[in-house]
Symmetry: C2
Subunit: 293 residues, 2 copies
Protein backbone atom coordinates (compact mmCIF):
# COMPACT_ATOMS: atom_id res chain seq x y z
CA UNK A 1 0.00 0.00 0.00
CA UNK A 2 1.29 3.47 -0.97
CA UNK A 3 -0.06 6.37 1.03
CA UNK A 4 -0.69 9.35 -1.26
CA UNK A 5 0.62 12.40 0.57
CA UNK A 6 -1.73 15.21 -0.45
CA UNK A 7 0.16 17.77 1.59
CA UNK A 8 3.43 17.02 -0.17
CA UNK A 9 1.90 16.98 -3.67
CA UNK A 10 0.04 20.22 -2.91
CA UNK A 11 3.33 21.80 -1.84
CA UNK A 12 4.90 20.74 -5.15
CA UNK A 13 2.00 22.29 -7.07
CA UNK A 14 2.21 25.50 -5.05
CA UNK A 15 5.99 25.75 -5.54
CA UNK A 16 5.53 25.44 -9.30
CA UNK A 17 2.77 28.07 -9.25
CA UNK A 18 4.92 30.41 -7.19
CA UNK A 19 7.60 30.25 -9.91
CA UNK A 20 5.00 30.78 -12.64
CA UNK A 21 3.66 33.82 -10.79
CA UNK A 22 7.14 35.34 -10.38
CA UNK A 23 7.42 35.34 -14.19
CA UNK A 24 4.23 37.43 -14.46
CA UNK A 25 5.79 40.44 -12.70
CA UNK A 26 5.06 43.32 -12.44
CA UNK A 27 1.50 41.92 -12.87
CA UNK A 28 -0.13 39.84 -10.16
CA UNK A 29 -3.27 37.67 -10.16
CA UNK A 30 -6.00 38.85 -7.82
CA UNK A 31 -8.70 36.60 -6.38
CA UNK A 32 -11.72 37.78 -4.40
CA UNK A 33 -13.40 35.53 -1.86
CA UNK A 34 -17.06 36.21 -1.24
CA UNK A 35 -18.32 34.94 2.10
CA UNK A 36 -21.90 35.23 3.28
CA UNK A 37 -22.30 35.00 7.05
CA UNK A 38 -19.92 33.67 9.68
CA UNK A 39 -20.29 29.90 9.50
CA UNK A 40 -17.13 28.72 11.34
CA UNK A 41 -16.19 26.15 8.70
CA UNK A 42 -16.55 28.75 5.92
CA UNK A 43 -14.50 31.29 7.89
CA UNK A 44 -11.74 28.74 8.35
CA UNK A 45 -11.78 27.50 4.70
CA UNK A 46 -11.65 31.03 3.32
CA UNK A 47 -8.85 32.01 5.72
CA UNK A 48 -6.84 28.98 4.58
CA UNK A 49 -7.36 29.92 0.92
CA UNK A 50 -6.41 33.57 1.56
CA UNK A 51 -3.21 32.60 3.36
CA UNK A 52 -2.21 30.12 0.68
CA UNK A 53 -2.86 32.69 -2.07
CA UNK A 54 -0.75 35.32 -0.35
CA UNK A 55 2.07 32.85 0.33
CA UNK A 56 2.62 32.31 -3.41
CA UNK A 57 2.20 35.90 -4.55
CA UNK A 58 -1.51 36.05 -5.37
CA UNK A 59 -3.38 39.14 -4.21
CA UNK A 60 -6.32 37.90 -2.12
CA UNK A 61 -9.27 40.04 -1.05
CA UNK A 62 -12.19 39.13 1.15
CA UNK A 63 -15.71 40.49 0.85
CA UNK A 64 -18.20 39.54 3.58
CA UNK A 65 -21.97 39.97 3.46
CA UNK A 66 -24.55 39.31 6.17
CA UNK A 67 -26.71 36.16 5.86
CA UNK A 68 -29.67 38.51 5.43
CA UNK A 69 -28.42 39.60 1.98
CA UNK A 70 -31.02 38.97 -0.73
CA UNK A 71 -30.25 36.88 -3.79
CA UNK A 72 -30.68 39.89 -6.08
CA UNK A 73 -28.28 42.01 -4.00
CA UNK A 74 -25.73 39.21 -4.03
CA UNK A 75 -26.12 38.90 -7.82
CA UNK A 76 -25.44 42.66 -8.09
CA UNK A 77 -22.32 42.37 -5.97
CA UNK A 78 -21.08 39.61 -8.27
CA UNK A 79 -21.80 41.80 -11.29
CA UNK A 80 -19.59 44.48 -9.75
CA UNK A 81 -16.74 42.03 -9.28
CA UNK A 82 -17.29 40.71 -12.82
CA UNK A 83 -16.87 44.27 -14.12
CA UNK A 84 -13.82 45.07 -11.98
CA UNK A 85 -10.72 44.75 -14.18
CA UNK A 86 -8.42 44.43 -11.20
CA UNK A 87 -10.13 41.15 -10.23
CA UNK A 88 -9.14 37.97 -12.10
CA UNK A 89 -10.77 35.30 -9.99
CA UNK A 90 -14.01 35.19 -7.97
CA UNK A 91 -14.92 32.49 -5.48
CA UNK A 92 -18.26 32.47 -3.68
CA UNK A 93 -17.84 30.23 -0.64
CA UNK A 94 -20.61 27.62 -0.25
CA UNK A 95 -22.85 26.89 1.54
CA UNK A 96 -25.03 29.96 0.99
CA UNK A 97 -28.13 30.84 3.07
CA UNK A 98 -31.17 28.75 2.12
CA UNK A 99 -33.02 31.71 0.56
CA UNK A 100 -30.26 32.04 -2.05
CA UNK A 101 -30.16 29.67 -5.03
CA UNK A 102 -26.53 28.52 -5.16
CA UNK A 103 -26.57 27.49 -8.82
CA UNK A 104 -27.96 30.90 -9.83
CA UNK A 105 -25.08 32.55 -7.98
CA UNK A 106 -22.45 30.22 -9.46
CA UNK A 107 -23.86 30.84 -12.95
CA UNK A 108 -23.64 34.62 -12.48
CA UNK A 109 -19.86 34.71 -12.00
CA UNK A 110 -18.11 35.72 -15.24
CA UNK A 111 -16.99 32.34 -16.66
CA UNK A 112 -13.57 33.86 -17.37
CA UNK A 113 -13.14 34.57 -13.61
CA UNK A 114 -14.83 31.39 -12.37
CA UNK A 115 -11.88 29.90 -10.50
CA UNK A 116 -14.22 27.53 -8.66
CA UNK A 117 -15.26 25.96 -11.98
CA UNK A 118 -18.92 25.76 -10.94
CA UNK A 119 -20.38 27.87 -13.78
CA UNK A 120 -22.42 25.91 -16.34
CA UNK A 121 -20.14 27.11 -19.12
CA UNK A 122 -17.02 25.75 -17.45
CA UNK A 123 -18.73 22.48 -16.59
CA UNK A 124 -19.79 22.21 -20.24
CA UNK A 125 -16.32 23.11 -21.51
CA UNK A 126 -14.90 20.40 -19.25
CA UNK A 127 -17.24 17.90 -21.02
CA UNK A 128 -16.14 19.41 -24.35
CA UNK A 129 -12.48 18.86 -23.36
CA UNK A 130 -11.68 22.55 -23.99
CA UNK A 131 -8.25 23.57 -22.67
CA UNK A 132 -9.50 26.93 -21.34
CA UNK A 133 -12.15 25.31 -19.09
CA UNK A 134 -11.80 25.91 -15.38
CA UNK A 135 -11.98 22.48 -13.79
CA UNK A 136 -13.61 22.58 -10.37
CA UNK A 137 -10.92 22.40 -7.72
CA UNK A 138 -11.56 19.08 -5.97
CA UNK A 139 -11.90 17.08 -9.23
CA UNK A 140 -8.81 18.79 -10.65
CA UNK A 141 -6.96 17.99 -7.42
CA UNK A 142 -7.94 14.32 -7.63
CA UNK A 143 -6.70 14.11 -11.22
CA UNK A 144 -3.42 15.74 -10.17
CA UNK A 145 -2.97 13.28 -7.28
CA UNK A 146 -3.56 10.40 -9.71
CA UNK A 147 -1.15 11.87 -12.26
CA UNK A 148 1.66 12.60 -9.85
CA UNK A 149 1.28 9.21 -8.16
CA UNK A 150 1.73 7.48 -11.54
CA UNK A 151 -1.60 5.64 -11.35
CA UNK A 152 -2.60 4.36 -14.81
CA UNK A 153 -6.17 5.30 -15.81
CA UNK A 154 -6.37 4.45 -19.53
CA UNK A 155 -8.76 1.55 -20.02
CA UNK A 156 -9.11 1.11 -16.26
CA UNK A 157 -12.40 0.81 -14.42
CA UNK A 158 -13.10 3.94 -12.39
CA UNK A 159 -16.05 3.88 -10.02
CA UNK A 160 -17.24 7.24 -8.67
CA UNK A 161 -19.41 7.10 -5.55
CA UNK A 162 -21.55 10.23 -5.63
CA UNK A 163 -23.04 12.38 -8.38
CA UNK A 164 -22.61 15.88 -6.98
CA UNK A 165 -21.98 18.81 -9.27
CA UNK A 166 -18.92 19.76 -7.29
CA UNK A 167 -17.11 16.43 -7.18
CA UNK A 168 -18.78 13.31 -8.57
CA UNK A 169 -19.91 14.41 -12.02
CA UNK A 170 -16.86 16.49 -13.00
CA UNK A 171 -14.25 14.05 -11.71
CA UNK A 172 -15.92 11.22 -13.63
CA UNK A 173 -16.01 13.36 -16.79
CA UNK A 174 -12.32 14.30 -16.42
CA UNK A 175 -11.31 10.66 -16.16
CA UNK A 176 -13.54 9.73 -19.13
CA UNK A 177 -12.02 12.45 -21.35
CA UNK A 178 -9.36 11.78 -23.99
CA UNK A 179 -6.52 13.00 -21.77
CA UNK A 180 -3.75 11.84 -19.46
CA UNK A 181 -4.97 10.92 -16.87
CA UNK A 182 -8.20 9.94 -18.59
CA UNK A 183 -9.53 7.37 -21.07
CA UNK A 184 -11.00 5.37 -18.19
CA UNK A 185 -14.20 3.33 -18.24
CA UNK A 186 -16.23 5.33 -15.73
CA UNK A 187 -19.21 4.22 -13.62
CA UNK A 188 -21.24 6.66 -11.50
CA UNK A 189 -22.90 5.15 -8.41
CA UNK A 190 -25.16 6.90 -5.90
CA UNK A 191 -27.92 6.45 -3.33
CA UNK A 192 -30.21 4.71 -5.84
CA UNK A 193 -27.59 2.19 -6.99
CA UNK A 194 -28.48 -1.46 -6.44
CA UNK A 195 -25.88 -4.04 -5.33
CA UNK A 196 -23.26 -1.36 -4.76
CA UNK A 197 -20.49 -3.68 -3.48
CA UNK A 198 -20.65 -5.79 -6.65
CA UNK A 199 -19.89 -2.63 -8.64
CA UNK A 200 -17.26 -1.08 -6.39
CA UNK A 201 -15.40 -4.41 -6.36
CA UNK A 202 -14.80 -4.03 -10.08
CA UNK A 203 -13.02 -0.69 -9.63
CA UNK A 204 -9.34 -0.34 -10.38
CA UNK A 205 -9.75 3.18 -9.03
CA UNK A 206 -12.47 4.00 -6.52
CA UNK A 207 -13.38 7.63 -5.80
CA UNK A 208 -15.59 8.03 -2.73
CA UNK A 209 -17.46 11.35 -2.53
CA UNK A 210 -20.72 10.73 -0.71
CA UNK A 211 -20.15 12.29 2.71
CA UNK A 212 -20.84 9.17 4.79
CA UNK A 213 -18.21 8.40 7.43
CA UNK A 214 -16.38 5.06 6.94
CA UNK A 215 -18.95 3.98 4.35
CA UNK A 216 -16.54 2.00 2.16
CA UNK A 217 -15.50 -1.25 3.84
CA UNK A 218 -12.89 -3.86 2.94
CA UNK A 219 -15.36 -6.22 1.29
CA UNK A 220 -16.39 -3.45 -1.13
CA UNK A 221 -12.94 -3.12 -2.76
CA UNK A 222 -10.83 -5.41 -4.86
CA UNK A 223 -7.27 -6.31 -3.89
CA UNK A 224 -4.88 -3.79 -5.44
CA UNK A 225 -7.46 -1.06 -6.02
CA UNK A 226 -6.43 2.62 -5.78
CA UNK A 227 -8.73 4.54 -3.44
CA UNK A 228 -9.31 8.30 -3.43
CA UNK A 229 -11.25 9.41 -0.38
CA UNK A 230 -12.97 12.77 -0.85
CA UNK A 231 -15.06 12.62 2.32
CA UNK A 232 -14.38 14.96 5.23
CA UNK A 233 -16.76 13.91 8.00
CA UNK A 234 -16.73 14.99 11.64
CA UNK A 235 -17.40 12.20 14.10
CA UNK A 236 -17.59 12.48 17.87
CA UNK A 237 -14.35 11.59 19.67
CA UNK A 238 -14.14 12.40 23.35
CA UNK A 239 -10.43 11.58 23.45
CA UNK A 240 -9.67 14.73 21.43
CA UNK A 241 -9.62 18.28 22.73
CA UNK A 242 -12.24 19.41 20.22
CA UNK A 243 -14.49 16.44 20.97
CA UNK A 244 -14.48 15.28 17.36
CA UNK A 245 -12.16 13.99 14.66
CA UNK A 246 -12.21 13.96 10.88
CA UNK A 247 -12.74 10.73 8.97
CA UNK A 248 -13.27 10.05 5.28
CA UNK A 249 -15.91 8.09 3.40
CA UNK A 250 -13.57 5.09 3.51
CA UNK A 251 -12.86 2.91 6.55
CA UNK A 252 -9.12 3.53 6.26
CA UNK A 253 -7.89 0.93 8.77
CA UNK A 254 -9.89 -1.85 7.18
CA UNK A 255 -9.54 -0.87 3.51
CA UNK A 256 -5.97 0.41 3.23
CA UNK A 257 -4.23 -3.02 3.48
CA UNK A 258 -6.05 -4.15 0.31
CA UNK A 259 -5.16 -1.09 -1.76
CA UNK A 260 -2.27 -0.24 -4.09
CA UNK A 261 -2.69 3.49 -3.33
CA UNK A 262 -4.90 5.34 -0.87
CA UNK A 263 -5.38 8.94 0.25
CA UNK A 264 -5.60 9.68 3.97
CA UNK A 265 -8.19 11.98 5.59
CA UNK A 266 -7.08 14.59 6.47
CA UNK A 267 -4.01 15.22 4.30
CA UNK A 268 -5.19 13.67 1.04
CA UNK A 269 -7.60 15.40 -1.30
CA UNK A 270 -8.20 18.42 0.97
CA UNK A 271 -4.89 20.25 0.45
CA UNK A 272 -5.13 19.60 -3.30
CA UNK A 273 -8.46 21.44 -3.51
CA UNK A 274 -6.80 24.59 -2.21
CA UNK A 275 -3.75 24.14 -4.48
CA UNK A 276 -5.93 23.74 -7.60
CA UNK A 277 -7.86 26.89 -6.69
CA UNK A 278 -4.54 28.71 -6.87
CA UNK A 279 -3.76 27.01 -10.18
CA UNK A 280 -7.13 28.15 -11.55
CA UNK A 281 -6.44 31.71 -10.38
CA UNK A 282 -3.13 31.81 -12.23
CA UNK A 283 -4.85 30.32 -15.30
CA UNK A 284 -7.57 33.02 -15.09
CA UNK A 285 -4.97 35.76 -14.91
CA UNK A 286 -2.96 34.37 -17.82
CA UNK A 287 -6.08 33.91 -19.97
CA UNK A 288 -7.40 37.40 -19.20
CA UNK A 289 -4.02 38.99 -19.96
CA UNK A 290 -3.80 37.02 -23.21
CA UNK A 291 -7.27 38.18 -24.29
CA UNK A 292 -6.34 41.80 -23.60
CA UNK A 293 -3.07 41.68 -25.53
CA UNK B 1 -39.32 -8.48 -27.32
CA UNK B 2 -41.06 -5.11 -27.77
CA UNK B 3 -40.05 -3.12 -30.81
CA UNK B 4 -39.88 0.59 -29.94
CA UNK B 5 -41.53 2.45 -32.79
CA UNK B 6 -39.62 5.71 -33.05
CA UNK B 7 -41.77 6.96 -35.90
CA UNK B 8 -44.96 6.55 -33.88
CA UNK B 9 -43.54 8.12 -30.72
CA UNK B 10 -42.10 11.00 -32.76
CA UNK B 11 -45.55 11.55 -34.29
CA UNK B 12 -47.06 11.71 -30.79
CA UNK B 13 -44.44 14.27 -29.72
CA UNK B 14 -45.03 16.34 -32.85
CA UNK B 15 -48.81 16.26 -32.39
CA UNK B 16 -48.42 17.55 -28.84
CA UNK B 17 -46.04 20.28 -30.03
CA UNK B 18 -48.42 21.29 -32.78
CA UNK B 19 -51.14 21.86 -30.17
CA UNK B 20 -48.72 23.79 -27.93
CA UNK B 21 -47.73 25.98 -30.90
CA UNK B 22 -51.37 26.72 -31.76
CA UNK B 23 -51.75 28.21 -28.27
CA UNK B 24 -48.88 30.64 -28.96
CA UNK B 25 -50.77 32.46 -31.72
CA UNK B 26 -50.42 35.04 -33.13
CA UNK B 27 -46.73 34.43 -32.28
CA UNK B 28 -44.76 31.69 -33.99
CA UNK B 29 -41.38 30.14 -33.21
CA UNK B 30 -38.73 30.63 -35.89
CA UNK B 31 -35.73 28.37 -36.38
CA UNK B 32 -32.83 29.05 -38.74
CA UNK B 33 -30.81 26.21 -40.22
CA UNK B 34 -27.25 27.08 -41.18
CA UNK B 35 -25.76 24.75 -43.75
CA UNK B 36 -22.21 25.01 -45.05
CA UNK B 37 -21.69 23.36 -48.41
CA UNK B 38 -23.79 20.79 -50.21
CA UNK B 39 -22.91 17.48 -48.56
CA UNK B 40 -25.82 15.26 -49.69
CA UNK B 41 -26.50 13.86 -46.21
CA UNK B 42 -26.58 17.39 -44.71
CA UNK B 43 -28.87 18.61 -47.49
CA UNK B 44 -31.26 15.75 -46.81
CA UNK B 45 -31.17 16.11 -42.97
CA UNK B 46 -31.82 19.84 -43.12
CA UNK B 47 -34.65 19.39 -45.64
CA UNK B 48 -36.27 16.84 -43.33
CA UNK B 49 -35.98 19.23 -40.37
CA UNK B 50 -37.38 22.16 -42.38
CA UNK B 51 -40.37 20.13 -43.56
CA UNK B 52 -41.11 18.82 -40.07
CA UNK B 53 -40.89 22.34 -38.61
CA UNK B 54 -43.29 23.75 -41.18
CA UNK B 55 -45.73 20.85 -40.73
CA UNK B 56 -46.31 21.79 -37.08
CA UNK B 57 -46.38 25.56 -37.47
CA UNK B 58 -42.76 26.51 -36.89
CA UNK B 59 -41.28 29.11 -39.24
CA UNK B 60 -38.13 27.52 -40.72
CA UNK B 61 -35.48 29.42 -42.65
CA UNK B 62 -32.40 28.10 -44.40
CA UNK B 63 -29.10 29.93 -44.76
CA UNK B 64 -26.44 28.31 -46.94
CA UNK B 65 -22.76 29.26 -47.11
CA UNK B 66 -20.07 27.91 -49.41
CA UNK B 67 -17.51 25.47 -47.94
CA UNK B 68 -14.90 28.17 -48.56
CA UNK B 69 -16.38 30.38 -45.81
CA UNK B 70 -13.79 31.24 -43.15
CA UNK B 71 -14.35 30.48 -39.49
CA UNK B 72 -14.40 34.18 -38.61
CA UNK B 73 -16.99 34.95 -41.30
CA UNK B 74 -19.15 32.08 -40.08
CA UNK B 75 -18.85 33.37 -36.51
CA UNK B 76 -20.01 36.80 -37.75
CA UNK B 77 -23.02 35.27 -39.47
CA UNK B 78 -23.93 33.53 -36.23
CA UNK B 79 -23.60 36.81 -34.35
CA UNK B 80 -26.10 38.35 -36.78
CA UNK B 81 -28.59 35.54 -36.15
CA UNK B 82 -27.97 35.84 -32.39
CA UNK B 83 -28.89 39.54 -32.61
CA UNK B 84 -31.97 39.00 -34.81
CA UNK B 85 -35.04 39.17 -32.56
CA UNK B 86 -37.19 37.36 -35.11
CA UNK B 87 -35.03 34.24 -34.73
CA UNK B 88 -35.65 31.97 -31.70
CA UNK B 89 -33.61 28.93 -32.63
CA UNK B 90 -30.32 28.46 -34.51
CA UNK B 91 -28.99 25.12 -35.73
CA UNK B 92 -25.63 24.82 -37.47
CA UNK B 93 -25.67 21.53 -39.34
CA UNK B 94 -22.57 19.38 -38.74
CA UNK B 95 -20.21 18.30 -40.15
CA UNK B 96 -18.48 21.59 -40.93
CA UNK B 97 -15.47 21.96 -43.27
CA UNK B 98 -12.21 20.84 -41.66
CA UNK B 99 -10.82 24.41 -41.50
CA UNK B 100 -13.65 25.40 -39.14
CA UNK B 101 -13.52 24.43 -35.45
CA UNK B 102 -16.96 22.95 -34.76
CA UNK B 103 -16.91 23.50 -31.01
CA UNK B 104 -16.01 27.19 -31.49
CA UNK B 105 -19.02 27.54 -33.78
CA UNK B 106 -21.36 25.69 -31.41
CA UNK B 107 -20.14 27.85 -28.50
CA UNK B 108 -20.85 31.06 -30.44
CA UNK B 109 -24.59 30.42 -30.80
CA UNK B 110 -26.55 32.41 -28.19
CA UNK B 111 -27.24 29.76 -25.49
CA UNK B 112 -30.88 30.98 -25.37
CA UNK B 113 -31.27 30.05 -29.06
CA UNK B 114 -29.13 26.89 -28.98
CA UNK B 115 -31.82 24.39 -30.00
CA UNK B 116 -29.12 21.82 -30.81
CA UNK B 117 -27.98 21.89 -27.18
CA UNK B 118 -24.29 21.76 -28.15
CA UNK B 119 -23.22 25.02 -26.44
CA UNK B 120 -21.00 24.53 -23.37
CA UNK B 121 -23.50 26.44 -21.23
CA UNK B 122 -26.36 24.11 -22.14
CA UNK B 123 -24.21 21.03 -21.66
CA UNK B 124 -23.22 22.38 -18.24
CA UNK B 125 -26.82 23.24 -17.33
CA UNK B 126 -27.80 19.71 -18.27
CA UNK B 127 -25.20 18.46 -15.73
CA UNK B 128 -26.58 21.01 -13.23
CA UNK B 129 -30.11 19.63 -13.83
CA UNK B 130 -31.40 23.11 -14.71
CA UNK B 131 -34.90 23.06 -16.24
CA UNK B 132 -34.07 25.73 -18.84
CA UNK B 133 -31.18 23.72 -20.32
CA UNK B 134 -31.50 22.74 -23.95
CA UNK B 135 -30.81 19.01 -24.04
CA UNK B 136 -29.11 17.95 -27.26
CA UNK B 137 -31.66 16.37 -29.54
CA UNK B 138 -30.54 12.75 -29.83
CA UNK B 139 -30.04 12.28 -26.04
CA UNK B 140 -33.37 14.00 -25.36
CA UNK B 141 -35.00 11.72 -27.93
CA UNK B 142 -33.55 8.62 -26.30
CA UNK B 143 -34.84 9.69 -22.89
CA UNK B 144 -38.28 10.32 -24.42
CA UNK B 145 -38.32 6.86 -26.05
CA UNK B 146 -37.43 5.31 -22.70
CA UNK B 147 -40.10 7.33 -20.88
CA UNK B 148 -42.91 6.64 -23.31
CA UNK B 149 -42.02 2.96 -23.50
CA UNK B 150 -42.35 2.68 -19.70
CA UNK B 151 -38.79 1.39 -19.23
CA UNK B 152 -37.72 1.76 -15.58
CA UNK B 153 -34.34 3.48 -15.13
CA UNK B 154 -34.13 4.22 -11.39
CA UNK B 155 -31.38 2.11 -9.84
CA UNK B 156 -30.88 0.24 -13.13
CA UNK B 157 -27.53 -0.33 -14.79
CA UNK B 158 -27.19 1.80 -17.91
CA UNK B 159 -24.19 1.18 -20.14
CA UNK B 160 -23.42 3.85 -22.74
CA UNK B 161 -21.18 2.76 -25.62
CA UNK B 162 -19.48 5.91 -26.86
CA UNK B 163 -18.37 9.17 -25.25
CA UNK B 164 -19.21 11.72 -27.93
CA UNK B 165 -20.30 15.20 -27.01
CA UNK B 166 -23.41 14.86 -29.11
CA UNK B 167 -24.75 11.55 -27.81
CA UNK B 168 -22.71 9.53 -25.32
CA UNK B 169 -21.84 12.05 -22.65
CA UNK B 170 -25.16 13.93 -22.50
CA UNK B 171 -27.38 10.83 -22.62
CA UNK B 172 -25.40 9.27 -19.77
CA UNK B 173 -25.70 12.48 -17.75
CA UNK B 174 -29.45 12.71 -18.35
CA UNK B 175 -29.96 9.15 -17.09
CA UNK B 176 -27.72 9.81 -14.08
CA UNK B 177 -29.65 12.95 -13.09
CA UNK B 178 -32.29 13.05 -10.34
CA UNK B 179 -35.19 12.90 -12.76
CA UNK B 180 -37.70 10.56 -14.35
CA UNK B 181 -36.30 8.86 -16.38
CA UNK B 182 -33.02 9.07 -14.49
CA UNK B 183 -31.42 7.89 -11.24
CA UNK B 184 -29.61 5.15 -13.12
CA UNK B 185 -26.18 3.73 -12.35
CA UNK B 186 -24.36 4.80 -15.50
CA UNK B 187 -21.20 3.36 -17.06
CA UNK B 188 -19.46 4.98 -20.03
CA UNK B 189 -17.53 2.60 -22.32
CA UNK B 190 -15.47 3.48 -25.40
CA UNK B 191 -12.62 2.41 -27.63
CA UNK B 192 -10.17 2.14 -24.70
CA UNK B 193 -12.45 -0.03 -22.54
CA UNK B 194 -11.07 -3.45 -21.63
CA UNK B 195 -13.29 -6.58 -21.54
CA UNK B 196 -16.20 -4.72 -23.05
CA UNK B 197 -18.61 -7.70 -23.23
CA UNK B 198 -18.27 -8.32 -19.48
CA UNK B 199 -19.49 -4.76 -18.90
CA UNK B 200 -22.24 -4.59 -21.53
CA UNK B 201 -23.62 -7.89 -20.16
CA UNK B 202 -24.39 -6.12 -16.87
CA UNK B 203 -26.57 -3.52 -18.59
CA UNK B 204 -30.31 -3.39 -17.94
CA UNK B 205 -30.32 -0.67 -20.60
CA UNK B 206 -27.65 -0.58 -23.30
CA UNK B 207 -27.21 2.53 -25.44
CA UNK B 208 -25.00 1.97 -28.47
CA UNK B 209 -23.58 5.14 -30.03
CA UNK B 210 -20.23 4.27 -31.55
CA UNK B 211 -20.93 4.24 -35.29
CA UNK B 212 -19.75 0.67 -35.97
CA UNK B 213 -22.18 -1.45 -37.99
CA UNK B 214 -23.56 -4.50 -36.15
CA UNK B 215 -20.93 -4.11 -33.42
CA UNK B 216 -23.11 -5.34 -30.54
CA UNK B 217 -23.66 -9.09 -30.76
CA UNK B 218 -25.93 -11.45 -28.82
CA UNK B 219 -23.22 -12.60 -26.42
CA UNK B 220 -22.63 -8.99 -25.35
CA UNK B 221 -26.13 -8.49 -23.89
CA UNK B 222 -27.99 -10.01 -20.99
CA UNK B 223 -31.38 -11.68 -21.43
CA UNK B 224 -34.13 -9.08 -20.93
CA UNK B 225 -31.94 -6.04 -21.58
CA UNK B 226 -33.44 -2.94 -23.26
CA UNK B 227 -31.35 -1.82 -26.23
CA UNK B 228 -31.28 1.66 -27.75
CA UNK B 229 -29.41 1.69 -31.05
CA UNK B 230 -28.18 5.16 -32.01
CA UNK B 231 -25.99 4.02 -34.92
CA UNK B 232 -26.91 4.89 -38.49
CA UNK B 233 -24.34 3.14 -40.67
CA UNK B 234 -24.42 2.62 -44.44
CA UNK B 235 -23.30 -0.81 -45.58
CA UNK B 236 -23.05 -2.04 -49.16
CA UNK B 237 -26.08 -4.03 -50.34
CA UNK B 238 -26.28 -4.80 -54.03
CA UNK B 239 -29.84 -6.07 -53.69
CA UNK B 240 -31.07 -2.51 -53.09
CA UNK B 241 -31.54 0.17 -55.71
CA UNK B 242 -29.19 2.57 -53.92
CA UNK B 243 -26.55 -0.10 -53.49
CA UNK B 244 -26.51 0.29 -49.71
CA UNK B 245 -28.72 -0.11 -46.68
CA UNK B 246 -28.77 1.40 -43.19
CA UNK B 247 -27.86 -0.68 -40.17
CA UNK B 248 -27.35 0.26 -36.53
CA UNK B 249 -24.52 -0.40 -34.11
CA UNK B 250 -26.44 -3.47 -32.94
CA UNK B 251 -26.77 -6.75 -34.84
CA UNK B 252 -30.56 -6.58 -34.72
CA UNK B 253 -31.36 -10.11 -35.95
CA UNK B 254 -29.06 -11.71 -33.43
CA UNK B 255 -29.64 -9.41 -30.44
CA UNK B 256 -33.36 -8.62 -30.59
CA UNK B 257 -34.62 -12.05 -29.40
CA UNK B 258 -32.75 -11.57 -26.10
CA UNK B 259 -34.11 -8.06 -25.42
CA UNK B 260 -37.14 -6.75 -23.54
CA UNK B 261 -37.18 -3.62 -25.73
CA UNK B 262 -35.18 -2.64 -28.79
CA UNK B 263 -35.15 0.24 -31.29
CA UNK B 264 -34.92 -0.56 -34.99
CA UNK B 265 -32.62 1.22 -37.47
CA UNK B 266 -34.05 3.09 -39.27
CA UNK B 267 -37.23 4.12 -37.47
CA UNK B 268 -35.94 4.18 -33.89
CA UNK B 269 -33.85 7.01 -32.52
CA UNK B 270 -33.59 8.91 -35.84
CA UNK B 271 -37.13 10.34 -35.99
CA UNK B 272 -36.91 11.29 -32.31
CA UNK B 273 -33.86 13.48 -32.94
CA UNK B 274 -35.90 15.59 -35.34
CA UNK B 275 -38.91 15.68 -32.99
CA UNK B 276 -36.79 16.86 -30.04
CA UNK B 277 -35.28 19.60 -32.19
CA UNK B 278 -38.83 20.88 -32.66
CA UNK B 279 -39.45 20.56 -28.93
CA UNK B 280 -36.31 22.61 -28.22
CA UNK B 281 -37.43 25.26 -30.70
CA UNK B 282 -40.78 25.63 -28.96
CA UNK B 283 -38.97 25.76 -25.60
CA UNK B 284 -36.63 28.48 -26.93
CA UNK B 285 -39.57 30.54 -28.14
CA UNK B 286 -41.44 30.18 -24.86
CA UNK B 287 -38.36 31.05 -22.79
CA UNK B 288 -37.50 34.08 -24.94
CA UNK B 289 -41.09 35.38 -24.79
CA UNK B 290 -41.12 34.84 -21.01
CA UNK B 291 -37.87 36.79 -20.60
CA UNK B 292 -39.26 39.68 -22.63
CA UNK B 293 -42.54 39.92 -20.75
Amino acid sequence: MNLIDGNQIATEVLDELSQRISLLKPGKPCVVFVRVGDDPASVSYVKKKERTAQSIGIDARLVVFPTSISESDLLQEIDRLNADDSVHGILVQAPLPSHVNEVSIFNRVNPAKDVDGFHATNLGKLCQEQPDAFRSCTPAGIVELIRRSGIETSGKRVVVLGRSLIVGKPVGMLLLNRSIPGNATVTFCHSRTHNLPSITKEADILIAAIGKPNFVTAQMVKQGCAVIDVGINRIADHSTKSGFRLVGDVDFDEVSPKTSFITPVPGGVGPMTVAMLMSNTVQAYEQIIQTQS
